[in-house]
Amino acid sequence: MITFNCTIQEGIVPEDLRPRLASELARISTGFVGGNPDEVSVNWIEIPHGFGFRGGRLSTTSAVRGEIPPGLQQETRVELMQSIQDMWMDLTGCTTDELVVSARDRRDG
C-alpha cells in the first residue's frame, strides 16, 4: 500500500488540478515500487492562509509526503522523488524551492 499526504497552502494548488496530480502520483510511484495505481491513497491537507510558515514567513510550499513499502534502494528512491518533483513542478508551475518531496518507508503496526 502506498499513501501520499499532500500538504498544500490555500490558493496554491487549484482544486481541479488535484485529481490529475493524484493520478500522476499513483502512476509514478507504482512504476517504481510496483502495485496497483488504483490502490494508491492520496490525501489532501489544505492549510488556510495565515496558518503555514516557512522561515518565519508565510509559506507557499507544498509538501508531498509518500509512504512506500520498506526496502527500496536509495538510488531508486531518489529517482522516485525526482520524478514526483518534476511532475509536480510541471503541472503546478511551482519552483523547486516551493516543494518538499519525501518517500519514507512505511512503518507497519
Binding site: 495565515g50 510558515f53 514567513r57 509559506s59 509538501a63 524551492d97 518538499v100 519525501s102 518517500a103 518507508d105
Partner: protein, 136 residues
Amino acid sequence: MPHYRCFIPQDALSFDQRQEIALAFTDIHCGSTGAPRSFVSVTFLETPEGQTHEHGVGYYLDGGNRAGRSEEVKQQLLSDLTQAFARVANVAPEDIPGRITENPASWTMEGGFVLPEPGEEGPEWYAAAEAAAAAD
C-alpha cells in the same frame, strides 16, 4: 524539513501570535542545529471545540526532523520550542505535550536536493538555501 505541526484549539491564536511562534521556532531550530532558515516549516492546525486531533485534545507540538542528532540535543530543542510556544500562546508549558520524530535525511528532497545528514551539509547546500531565501 524540519516541519513543526502545532495543534491548537479553534481560534486560540491570532495571526500575530502564530507568526511570532513561527519566527521563534525558526530562531530556535536554526540556533540549535545550524540549518538554513528557509528550511524550517511551521504549520498550525486548529481543532474545533468538542473534537479531537490525532494526538488527543488541546495543544500539541509534533515535530519532524532529520535523524542523527543526540538525544540531549533533541530534548533541549523540544524544551526550548515548547517554552516559546507556551509563552506566546499564554499557556503553561505543561499544557503543550509534544514529540520530535525523525526520519533519515536521504528520504526527503527539498529545494531540488536530497537532504544531507546532520553535520554533512556541504557549502553547496547552504549556498542553494541562501539563494532560495534571497529569491523570496
